[in-house]
Amino acid sequence: MAAAISIRGLTKKYVDVWQKQEVIAVNNLSLEVEEGEIFGFLGRNGAGKTTTIKMLLGLIFPTAGDATILGKPMGDNQVKQEIAYLPEETYFYDSMTGWDLLDFYARLFRIPEPERSRRVRMALEKVRLQPEAWKRSIRGYSKGMRQRIGIAQALINDPKLLFLDEPTSGLDPIAHAELRDIVASLKYEGKTVFLSSHQLADVEMICSRVAIIHKGKLLRTGTIKELISGERTEITVQGKELQNGMLAKLQAIVPEVHMDGEDTLRLTSDDSERVAAVIDLVRGAQGKIISIVPHKRTLEEVFVETVRKEDNTI
């Protein structure tokens, strides 16, 4: 499959006016996003996600490296006919109605009438904005309605590639689920989505591949399946004997041991042999195994683990 986005060594440094302090917002980032996939771009606040997107769109300029979008150099005006961007927490022109706003954006694509009105209507219907709100000023829109109009403006040109920066943040559960489903549905229309989000449950649900970026550096990239592979098993054991020297023996097998009360321990491991060794040890010490729960790893766990590891806080 062809690459929708191909990034090679993209770097963005900011220096202060005296050229003394240097901040590396994006550090030698290289990655590929394939056509037709929903790609999750994950990172903490200030990790460099938005900076990367802004470089790809030509809003800011890289210090080093380059990228192609749909086969054309980043920032190219022609390629902008085929892409869309929903920035994080955008304020639209408040005095305009939802319809007029989309009409304005459609004009920026030189879409003539009556096609323009048809596109506006389609986009508004697609994001399920209630028709009575179409001709109302955006000033009176709720957060959810603003996000819907934001996605609608990104759909006005029927783009091949969408950059969505936190499209579902700060929404109520219903609006959140609806907008997530709208984003997920874009894949079935053959669109590529570059999704920057902190909603890791959403990312796990709708993305095929993700990249984890931290302090401007790419830490991991892969399919969701690859990243969350490997089960963790949580064993809860009980017994008065456990504390008398047994705790140290258990910790030697599984470092992750938590005390739950005076005679109960919780152990977690992703190694089945270690799990078996724990069970044998507890049984040998006349301890009681309360539960053995296989626990599938989540993307959130992988993300936290990856970032903490990088920070050497594990």
């Binding site: 809003l59 800011i60 955008t90 004009r107």
Partner: protein, 255 residues
């Protein structure tokens, strides 16, 4: 077409700002007070109405122009609306051109609105509208157009506060053409150099002030047509240069 769409959007945004309306209303209010002042002062009521009207248009126009234009580009960046515009197939020059056109149109509408009220007052008092009144309003528009261009130019690389003082300051200096001109002939080379730079580099706003000849018919402008044509051309050319510079700066600006 794209620049026109942005210009239309700019006009709509400008007119929803209350501060612009406040200055416009103050301007119209001052103009409509002309006949009242005419009765209250010992001067000729015709002179009072003409001078007050033109001064009110100039003053209100000055503030409307500055408060409208200093925010045109910074507000787009601050509210991040520029992201959704520049991520579409919009060239940066089209964006800046659209802002210029929108800014000029907003200033024109304001000056025209005050001009209509002013001319109506003149007609109410004199039962005729002398051609000089049109010329006065027209030159004020071109003066404000030049100021708008200057303000939008500064807005591509400064903050609104800095821009306010820069634009206002240059407008004041640009109105003191006789002073700056006198500096160009001083014997001190430093004073002469700075004077020459200021006099020829900064826009000459003083040339647009023809209130004296309008208010007092005995003062005549020699070769009036050439004077008007040259001033209008000066405003258009200077504004165009500022537009080109603004585009060059904005093209390299990160948003």
């Amino acid at each position: 077409m794209i620049a026109l769409a942005i210009a239309q959007q700019t006009i709509k945004e400008a007119f929803r700002r209350r501060v612009m309306w406040i200055f416009l209303i103050i301007g119209v209010f001052l103009i409509s007070l002309g006949p009242v002042f005419g009765f209250l002062t010992p001067r000729d009521s015709q002179t009072v109405l003409r001078s007050l009207g033109l001064a009110a248009i100039l003053l209100a126009g000055l503030f409307v122009t500055i408060v409208t234009c200093i925010y045109l580009i910074p507000a787009e960046i601050e509210r991040r609306t520029i992201y959704t515009v520049l991520s579409k197939p919009v060239q940066r020059y089209e964006f800046v051109l659209g802002k210029f056109l929108g800014g000029f149109a907003t200033v024109f509408i304001n000056i025209a609105a005050m001009g209509v009220v002013f001319l109506a007052m003149i007609y109410f008092q004199e039962r005729r509208i002398p051609a000089e009144m049109f010329k006065g309003v027209m030159l004020t528009f071109f003066q404000m157009m030049l100021l708008a261009a200057l303000t939008i130019f500064f807005s591509t690389f400064t903050t609104p506060v800095v821009n306010f003082f820069l634009s206002f300051g240059i407008f004041m200096i640009g109105n003191l053409t006789t002073v700056t001109e006198s500096l160009t002939t001083k014997s001190n080379p430093l004073v002469r150099g700075v004077g020459t730079l200021v006099h020829y580099l900064l826009p000459n706003f003083g040339n647009f002030n023809i209130q004296n000849s309008i208010i007092r018919p005995q003062i005549e402008i020699a070769n009036e047509q050439v004077f008007l044509r040259n001033n209008i051309l000066y405003a258009i050319i200077y504004s165009s240069v500022l537009l080109v510079l603004a585009i060059l700066i904005f093209d390299r600006r990160e948003v």
